[in-house]
Amino acid sequence: MLASGLPDIIADPEELARFLFSLSHFNSKSVKPAAFLPSPDHETSVFRHGAEPREELWILATEHAAGMRTVKAAALLNAGQVRIAGLDAVADEPPPRHAVLRGWPLNDNPHLQKAQQKERAILLAQAAVLLER
């Protein structure tokens, strides 16, 4: 059990929120693939929280994810959908409820690696539900 009270292992049905700080990462219809691409350390930061309670979701974003930035929206999906896309969701506290998406493809050819990662990201975007703040 983690300090947050959550289990070490993220089960497939568990909901995850990817906080979005750029308006370019979503439109009225959907989350865009770029919202899920990994940071330079090859991980994508998420939080273990679903759409409800809504107020707690935004508090989590403000207190532990935003820093000086304003959270514009959240992309919601569950861990099972992450695994179907060929990635894994792994607990990564602190901060509380934090997790990362790992397993992004790596390749000696950086362009091919990027294309492979975009394919994973587009599958996450397909699965994700957009929640605007």
């Binding site: 294309a115 587009i122 397909q126």
Partner: protein, 179 residues
Amino acid sequence: MHRIVPIIDLSGHLAIQAMAAGSNAVSAEAGVIGRAAGEIATSAEESVVLFGPKADALSALAELVSECSERGWDGQNAEPIDSMAAFSAERFIRAMPEDLPLPEFAAEPDGAISLDWIETRNRMLSLSISRGGRLAYAWVDGADHGHAVAQFNGLSVPSRIIAAIRDLTGTTNVGIRAA
């Protein structure tokens, strides 16, 4: 030191201006940037004759570059949008056939720019433009999905990508094929 600064000009078009601070930059990198600056300046001048949807798209691109010009724009440690990626994206938009739908733009954590054609959540094409002419792209069409890499010479959009956009947007029956 030279730096390239994307701005929005008075008509709302993308203009990327090369700014020179100091006159003694003699490194190879400075030379490359200087040449790029010259090309960008020429491109900015050409933007005067662009009207309509492409001009709007370039304005949106400029706004994105401005929004994501500092490290950490994603709330984490994302790189600022690369000025040469912005330049390549502008060239790509200019090179697109007039009858193709224009993309939306998004910033990527490595400083690249994503060009996205989104019909629905289940039908998307996403293309990355970064420094250099290689284009990494991926698509999903229902249960079908894939990825590929193509070369952009700065003047004409690769035929495979044109076919992919047409297929996604329903303007042709040509299928998307991987590289």
